[in-house]
Amino acid sequence: MLMEKRLEACILKAIHKRPVEVPVIAVTGGKGGVGKSTVAVNISEALVQMGYRVALVDADVDAPDDHILLNITLKCPLDVAVTLPVINDEKCTKCRKCVDICRRHALFQPRDGSPILIGECNGCEACILVCPADAIERSKRMVGKTYKNGTNNLTLFTGELIPGVEESSFVVNALKARVFDEAKDSDIIIIDTSPGTHCNVINALKGSCEAFAVTEPTPLGIHDLKRILNLLQVLHIKADVILNRSDLPGVRGQLESVIKAYNTKVSVEIPMDDLLVKSYVEGVPVVRMYPEAESSKRISRLSKEIAAKYIK
């Protein structure tokens, strides 16, 4: 359901807080597979061609693919871990307080024994805080990794969730922290978010000056575009639309009314382009492999506009 939701001013301020001077642009879009990564990688490459230092951030930690589109192997890994409680049998008084406090029901107390972790712990540490005997120690559970690859003027930061683990949000937060710490010298930061409108997308969007919502002119694309534009409106983040595969058979009228309702505009239309598909499967950005392709020209033009607006 779309909402007229208002966030408190101080929460909006926290969402817009940017710990670095560098401008931050997000590439997002409610639906999966509409071309977010392709657009983010190519805008980044186009800006590098113009001589800028670009930090590209792959925040789709479930399915990080920007490195494949750039045909590079991820480097400089840092672990992302959450607390794993370990109960010290000798200190435990079997008071059950930890079992009762755990809202995920992850702890179980066998008869005559100390509690054991049986469920899905999210590392909140409530059990450690409530234990009167100081009997719970902190161990670590790995949930993902962040990576950093530097080539020429393009630095790729990637977050990667370990398959089978649910804690995407920890990985996104760790990635953003690393970027804001290590990308201070860049001229611009481009963030490629995951599909959807959930908390990981919001965490990825935090600190953005502007967000480009990529969509395609199909009923499915437009349905999901509405949701992401709604989210951006709630977060007070300036939104623009990138219409990918613009010549797909679709419903232009519906698209136009959504764009009007959210008071935004289509910044660029990227038509279907065999050269783009060719470069996509080769792992080379189309703006580098086929600079004369129609898609390259359109993306380069948009990148110039972004540079003129945001890079001093």
Binding site: K31, C124, E125, E166, T197, D224, L231, V277
Partner: protein, 296 residues
């Protein structure tokens, strides 16, 4: 009753398109309930022009609420939050609602007892139908969290509806990715149908998905959509399937009829029953029924 869960890792490879067509075909012979657990972008019902029959609010999320009359501004709650969901503004702790997990750590350290964990509405489960087709879909409210718990509710409702209708089959159209809504979608499923396309990116995401599915020990088969897109990647997917003992269920050729049917918001098997993709999906439907009815 069996449940087939359709997943992909990568978004936009054709999960919903194939789910809609499979549903349409199987409903001809079986009693089927369709479930849409892509709660961030629930699109399946669009294909059927289905009428919303019932919508129930779900309070599957819990969050911290601060009573500022009692709060002394000591900030202990801010320091203890592991989810970066509290910050201090003018010496007042503020809860960032969309990332708060409702874990209650802040309630333990608050010396004034000023923080309470309360359930909040974070989405809804919708039941819609059109003729014989019944669709249960979940929808996460904008800016909310705990999508996995909404997925649990969708699956629960789909199960109840399937029992009520004495259905043979639930087809679940899942979300992209491999995170918590995907894990919730997999749980309790009998079979995972992983849809992919022959590109290096889709294969990368497929590998990550298969790791998750095999972790939960659920049998899994592969569908290569737009199979003639890139020959080299197609061979790589076939090799990957062999190595991991995954059945290659179907290769659906690229077909402009699919794009045209999406534009009309119709399953391709309805809009273009004789198209090459429709014929491939019909074969896929037979194969799936065969596999899930096999004794274990």
């Amino acid at each position: 009753m069996k449940e087939i869960v359709i997943l992909s890792g990568k978004g936009g490879v054709g999960k919903s398109t194939i789910a809609a067509s499979l549903g349409t075909i199987l409903i001809e012979k079986y009693k089927v309930v369709l479930a849409d657990t892509d709660v961030d972008a629930p699109n399946l019902a669009l294909f059927f022009d289905a009428v919303l029959r019932e919508s129930k609010e779900i309070s599957a999320s819990e969050k911290a609420f601060i009573d500022y009359e009692m709060c002394t501004g000591c900030q202990e709650c801010v320091d203890v939050c592991k989810f970066s969901s509290m910050f201090s503004s003018n010496n007042r702790p503020i809860v960032i609602p969309y990332t708060c997990e409702g874990c209650g750590a802040c309630t333990i350290v608050c010396p004034e007892g000023a923080i309470e964990i309360k359930k909040v509405v974070n989405g809804r489960v919708n039941i819609s139908d059109r003729e014989e087709t019944l669709i249960v879909s979940g929808e996460l409210d904008i800016g909310e969290s705990s999508s996995g718990l909404i997925v649990d509710e969708v699956k629960k409702t789909a199960g109840t509806e399937a029992e009520r209708l004495n259905a043979d089959l639930i087809i679940t159209d899942g979300p992209p990715g491999i995170g918590c809504p995907v894990i919730s979608s997999i749980k309790g499923g009998d079979y995972v149908m992983a849809v992919t396309e022959p590109t290096p990116v889709a294969l990368n995401d497929l590998k990550r998905l298969v790791e998750v599915v095999q972790y939960f020990k659920i049998p899994c088969g592969i569908v290569i959509n737009k199979s003639d897109l890139h020959q080299k990647s197609r061979i790589e997917i076939e090799e990957f399937s062999d190595e991991h003992n995954l059945i290659l269920l179907s290769e659906i050729p690229y077909d402009i009829s699919v794009a045209k049917s999406i534009a009309k918001a119709r399953p391709v098997v309805t809009a273009y029953p004789d198209a090459s993709s429709s014929l491939a999906i019909r074969e896929l439907a037979d194969k799936l029924i065969d596999i899930i009815n096999r004794p274990d």
